[in-house]
Every structure is written in C-alpha cells, then in structure tokens.
C-alpha cells in the first residue's frame, strides 16, 4: 500500500513506525562512529595492542 491509498490513521502509524526505525538506525550509526574513533582512546588502544601482541606471539610460536 502506498502513501496515496493510506488513510490518515495508516499514514500516521507508518510515520511513527518509521520514526522508531530511524532512531534505532541513528543509535547504530552513533555507535559505529564511536567505535571507529575508539583507537584514539588510550585504554582501548592498550587493550587492542595487547591482543594484537598475543596473536602475534601465538602465530610465531606455531611456526
């Protein structure tokens, strides 16, 4: 059903449903942006670098 054939109540429902979906997507995008910038955070950098180091050690010990 397209917008032209919807009753005003159906259109209002669709708008509310879309507003909810857009808000969920906004939270997701905000979280993605936070993650992409998180390596600048010293605490996160330390964890990631420690995990990278452990992976490298495991790889070299298998050789």
């Amino acid at each position: 059903m397209d917008n032209a054939t919807m009753t005003p109540e159906q259109q209002a429902r669709r708008e509310r449903a879309l507003a909810f979906a857009r808000e969920l997507m906004r939270i997701k995008r905000e979280g993605q942006e936070e993650i992409r910038n998180d390596y600048k955070n010293p605490e996160v950098r330390e964890v990631i670098d420690r995990l990278r180091k452990r992976n490298a050690q495991q790889r070299s010990s298998r050789l």
Partner: protein, 169 residues
C-alpha cells in the same frame, strides 16, 4: 552455549556505560562490540533499564581503506560476547541491519545464519522480528529483539517494541 565449530578469539570486556567488548582477529584486525542503552525508546521505566542495541564495527583496521578478510571465528567470538552480555537475564538486545550500499537484505541473511548457528542452538534465547519498514528514500529497516527465554520481562519487552514497530500509540 554457542556451537563452537570454529574457536573463538580471546576477547576483553572493557565495560562502561556502553558495555564495550574488544577482540583482534588472526588478520590483526581489531573489533568492538557495544551494547548501547536504548531503553529510553520504551515508555515503561522498568523495562528501559534493560534494553540495549548491539553495534559491531572495526576499531583497528590495517587494511584501510579496504575491508579486511572475514573468518568464521569472528562470528563465534561475537556469539560468545553476546552470551557474556546476557549473563544478566533481564536484558534484551535490539539489532538493526545496516542498509548502506542497499545491502540490508544480505546483512539480514547473514544475521539469520549467525543467530541460527550460534545463538538459537542452545535453546536459551528467543528472537522477535519486527515488521520491515521501507523509508521514503528506499532505506530498508530490519530489526529484531533477542531475549533469554527466562527473562521475566520478555513478553512486556516484546509487546512494547511491537507497538513501536507498528507505529501504535
């Protein structure tokens, strides 16, 4: 527990208000999984403390600007992280598929496969899918709520999100 066909990577829980977890793949790629508080979407203050949206992205990518190779261990690791997050049984987790590059359908198929392979198998969780919405600009929205079967707020959470997803008042 999830089906461990591929061994998980070691992960660390950094915690914080966004419940951050991190791990690094065999290709030296860093991933973060966050559970962002999203309960403010719900009108019920009791439920609102327990609702989170899961977000996954790359925190360290040595392949930039290319996307890194993926492997089965990544999905196993994310499943273990989700199990860890659900140690608090009252929690509910929302996931919405990204439609960038118009790939929402493909991402939904991937999410379904991941859920069936790693989460559903233990029979400890349930998933509610919400009606698909297509925005005026063609953006497709798929969203789902995952709860533990013994979550005491499971039905209330589902009903609250169903009302929102259907645009009911």
């Amino acid at each position: 527990m999830p089906n461990r066909e591929a061994p998980a990577y070691e992960f660390e829980a950094l915690g914080g208000s966004n419940n951050v977890y991190a791990f690094v793949s065999i290709n030296d790629v860093g991933y973060e999984v966050r559970f962002k508080p999203s309960g403010y979407l719900l009108p019920d203050p009791v439920l609102s403390d327990y609702v989170y949206e899961m977000v996954i992205d790359l925190v360290y990518n040595p392949f930039t600007p290319e996307l890194p190779p993926v492997d089965e261990r990544i999905s196993t690791t994310i499943a273990l992280i989700v199990h860890d997050f659900f140690q608090v049984r009252e929690r509910g987790m929302i996931y919405i598929c990204d439609d960038s590059d118009s790939r929402a359908y493909a991402r939904k198929r991937l999410f379904d496969r991941w859920y069936n392979q790693h989460i559903k198998v233990g029979a400890r969780f349930t998933r509610y899918e919400f009606p698909i919405e297509i925005d005026d600009d063609g953006t497709v929205y798929f969203a789902a709520l995952i709860c533990r079967l013994d979550n005491p707020y499971q039905v209330e959470m589902y009903m609250a999100f169903r009302r929102l997803a259907l645009g009911e008042k």
